[in-house]
């Protein structure tokens, strides 16, 4: 039986409908961006344009933006499999024609699409506010160098990492809370490298950014296959290896 986007679409629609009606998910999706845009925006507007550490300040502000694609999907994805299992909704789905790759892609897309929309929207708002209220020197510094490229490039790739780590943890967990904690922890490592670049500990360059992005992309593609291999119907139904 071949891969079916109809079945992916069925799960994706269901997930998005479910998010819309879940106050916890809506609250989290709204609160995280607000939290991570307020502080860097204030910091940037209040920054001294002639300060020595201007580049570091800008890097730190932009780093906040990259926390969004890491934290937002990890919580949602940690719930994706073990949560359905706890609710008793996983078994009926597994008795249908859906293939594990389709199920996982649907779950990943359901987290990826809103994450990307929100993360880019927040970054757009940040740039707009900076352009309107920050010192022109600061605005120039933001647009100079690889800052914007890093944001645009790493937002989907970091989201992909967080999503696959979250789903992998969820596939092997028996408790939603544990899955969410492990998922958040597991999504942090690539952020450290980005942080070192943003804070100029690693000298950032377009070549380095593209190199790291390529590595992350390769990981994201590989992760889908690895997680699909971990997705075992029997284990998911009975809660342990058969």
């Amino acid at each position: 039986m071949s891969f079916s986007w109809t079945r992916v679409g069925a799960i994706l629609h269901k997930e998005l409908r479910d998010y819309r009606r879940n106050r916890f998910v809506i609250g989290t999706m709204a609160a995280v961006p607000v939290l991570f845009i307020t502080l860097p925006t204030i910091q940037l507007i209040a920054a001294n344009a002639t300060g020595k550490n201007l580049s570091v300040r800008i890097g730190l502000s932009l780093l906040y933006m990259l926390v969004i694609p890491v934290t937002m999907p990890s919580v949602v994805c940690a719930y994706s499999v073990v949560g359905e299992r706890e609710q008793g909704t996983l078994e009926p789905v597994l008795t249908t024609l859906i293939r594990r790759e389709e199920f996982l892609i649907a779950k990943a897309l359901a987290a990826f699409v809103p994450t990307l929309v929100i993360a880019y929207a927040v970054f757009g708002i940040f740039l707009a506010v900076a352009a309107l209220f920050a010192h022109p020197v600061i605005v120039s510094a933001i647009y100079a160098g690889p800052h914007v490229l890093v944001q645009l490039l790493f937002t989907p790739l970091l989201a992909g990492w967080a999503i696959w780590v979250g789903i992998a943890v969820s596939t092997r967990s028996t408790d939603v809370r544990v899955a969410q904690q492990l998922s958040v922890l597991g999504s942090i490592p690539p952020l450290i490298i980005v942080a070192l670049m943003s804070l100029n500990v690693i000298t950032e360059s377009i070549a380095l950014a593209i190199g790291l992005a390529t590595a992350l992309l390769a990981f994201d593609l590989l992760a889908w296959r690895v997680v699909a291999g971990m997705f075992d119907r029997e284990r998911l139904v009975i809660g342990r290896p058969g």
């Binding site: 909704t89 996983l90 008795t95």
Partner: protein, 368 residues
Amino acid sequence: MARRAPSRPGHDEARPSRSAGAFRQPCQVRVTSQPATHAAGGAGLISAAPGPGGSKDGSALVVEHLAKRFGDRVAFDDVSFEVGYGEVFGFLGPNGAGKTTTVRTLGTLIAPSSGWAIVAGIPLGAKNGSAIRSRISMMPESPGLYLRLTVTENLQCFAGLYELGDVRGRIERALGAVNLEDRARDLCGSLSKGLRQRVALARALLSDPAVLFLDEPTSGLDPVATREVHELIASLRERGVTIFLTTHRLEEAERLCDRVAILNTTLRMIGRPGELREQLFRRSLDVRLRAPLDDPEAMFGAVPGIEGWERTPSSYTLTVSDPDLAAPALTRALVAAGADILSIAESRHSLEDVYLELIDEDVEARAR
């Protein structure tokens, strides 16, 4: 009428008896996976052949020596039976007997450790999972509905997972089958347990399955909701849907199922409820008199057709070869002896009696 049959001979030595007792020996009860033609010759064999509409070639389910082990723990072992198309087959057993694991195995969610099966005409195996799932439906014990989605949205999701055409028409028909058309726009979270169970049943019917597995469909439901689900299953039966029903509720199995199997890790018995009763219990008459007989041995020994008797607190239970012949003769003998007869009736053993007897045997066997 005694709810349980009288004790087995040898277990009640204080009671006067000349018979082999009302029970047949457990060793006579054997299960065979062979069709009826093979089983008919052997006394005490119970056919595992399909019921109406079924045959070896056209069976909805053929299961042979199927087993599932989780490490050292045996979930079920050496299970063999057949289910014909259009049959309602009851799968009974206590908690932990392996019923749900059997259903999950036949539903391709769990791989068997040994044995083989053909489900809806397709051999059970890793490569045939999707093909089998396209021809069956399973309704787990928990309805497993998305509570923030409406009834229709839940069904739309599953229609998509089966890639069904004419989604709207199918949903309307499925909801019509469970009398839920007027709740189509309601959130599943706002429905009662019984209504959720009905939605789950509608979901299971969406794909027009050849075989429908219902795992404890009335578990946790109140009597009214239970009756509603029973009526739905009965209506599906009338429409010719093959149903594999696991249940704890023996009256449910007796009322709805053409045949039942009793599982307690291994298959203990299989057959029509009436056959199981006949296999396990001898036919008997329950005699209630105003006053005890002075010499029951002489009285019952003189009546043709009475094979044994025993005294219960309020009556006499007589083992008979044919109640229709023995009852008139007995009545005449009692009247002639001047006994005041309150009632003479044939003892009716329920499926529950059969079930409890078998489970008790297992408990005793394990104790030994």
